[in-house]
Symmetry: C2
């Protein structure tokens, strides 16, 4: 165990974050690499993990020769799928050890600084995760366009659907439809549908702010969308609370839009996240390593 | 004009139908080629049109030498988009003349045997089209997943969304959720979302029958989906009727499921389609040719 270091990896759809810490927990380096969502590119994910790790090593004035001294905790989307988990664990990685878990697990560990708890993540997508008494459960997170209610992409999709109906004269005009049409500089449904062809969930998610803005101005169509989202998050939070998590956090880009709209009773259950997911990955590496070390001692 | 023939082309996402007729209207040959939706493959569309035409010529005991004697009426999806219309008209086709219009226009002309009128198409997608006093309008048809309410793909998407929520415990259990889960042989939301990843609108549309079956058994979740669809088709029909079309037809794979669910007053406006879209394309070629011929006479 001499000169060993912990490596925390938070893989994500747009970037991969790496952080290196001493066994005593002192952070010595950080690095950022490219996209690392194995559902959207397996080899790219491996490359991004190595790239981010190398940058973190460089930041710590170390070289890739240290790879073999790293105890890695890696959080990635999709590794709750058995096939992807197996594929990832078969990777001939250069680290001393790699402990693999989901992006949700490390986000949860980070949010609660190593303790158990629950998180609701609401950004481009949406998802709930709870770890209580060692039992982990995931809810939602089924992706665009079939799931992830209340997420930015879902809000954008609902806004587009409403706007197309309004432009065709099949639903009432609204400030939401007007603002979405202005955003895309279109004045008819055909032009809007053409603009949306092949757009990613991330591009739909950019419309979420318009939906919240219109809801703040009491536009009925926007309020209907927001209220559906809030209803879903309320169900999600109540479901997570049934497992009696020690703490409950909301994280992700829509947190500040959604938390204030929950009922005060429900909002009171939420506390602020303590650390970022990559720190959660560090904790995960440490927890797994110590657990094995204890067993073999 | 000696030995000239009319060629009708109905391009579609799964196949291209060609039919050849004499100037007197006698059908002499038919052929079927591959997919011909220029939105999903431009060169493939041209190939399929030529292939279907050649097969129709062979069926009429003619050869490709006759290409230059053909007055073609071609109906294709997407050519209401200016860019695609231009691209198609710039095609160095081998025909004497090519008159290009939308798949909706030829479906409408066919349904009314050359007369003006309106159609609602409800199959994998959904769309409304009206041609009245020479004025043509399209409603809906904005594609999956943003539009095409009441279509098979829309019904399937709503069924999947409901089933995922039910499997996660966020909406009531239902026979719809049970049957969709059985169809995909899954018992949890993660497995279902995995099965749906990357599925086409056509594959979603296969679930429409399950939705209608469950609605027939008064499953509230299925009824809610079907009623939303019927509400949309009702709005669509009322919009088309505002233009006072001479006739109104419903065509497409869901016709027999939807027509009986409309109000009797509305259903009374619908008449049976007379001919198929490829015959509409023939009529279109004839109308365009005669119109030009008259002008130049």
């Amino acid at each position: 165990m001499e000169n060993m270091l912990y490596l925390g990896i938070d893989g994500g759809g747009s970037k991969c974050r790496a952080v290196i810490a001493s066994l005593e927990g002192e952070i010595v380096g950080r690095g950022v690499g490219g996209p690392a969502n194995p559902l959207h590119g397996f080899q790219k994910t491996l490359d991004s993990i190595l790239d981010a790790s190398l940058k973190a090593l460089e930041d710590a004035s170390l070289t890739s020769a240290i790879y073999s001294k790293l105890i890695a905790g890696v959080g990635l989307a999709g590794v709750n799928l058995p096939g992807l988990y197996k594929q990832m664990t078969e990777w001939q990685h250069p680290f001393a050890k790699m402990y693999l878990t989901t992006d949700l697990d490390i986000a949860n560990i980070g949010a609660h600084d190593g303790s158990e708890g629950a998180v609701i993540i609401v950004g481009t997508g949406s998802c709930g995760f709870v770890n209580s008494s060692g039992h982990k459960s995931i809810f939602g997170g089924h992706g665009f366009p079939i799931g992830d209610k209340a997420s930015g992409a879902w809000m954008g999709l609902e806004a587009i659907k409403h706007t197309l109906l309004a432009l065709d004269g099949f639903s009432e005009q609204s400030s939401l439809a007007t603002k979405v049409s202005e955003y895309f500089a279109v004045d008819n449904a055909l032009a809007l549908s053409e603009k949306m062809a092949g757009r990613s969930s991330r591009q739909y998610a950019k419309l979420a702010k318009i939906v919240f803005d219109c809801a703040d101005e009491n536009d009925p169509s926007a309020l209907a969308i927001v209220n559906q989202g809030i209803d879903y998050i309320t169900k999600m939070a109540n479901r997570l609370l049934r497992d009696n998590p020690q703490r409950l956090c909301m994280i992700g880009g829509l947190t500040d839009f959604i938390l204030p709209r929950l009922s005060p009773e429900l909002a009171a259950h939420f506390v602020k996240p303590i650390e970022q997911p990559e720190i959660g990955a560090l904790h995960y590496a440490e927890q797994c390593w110590k657990s094995v070390h204890k067993q073999s001692a």
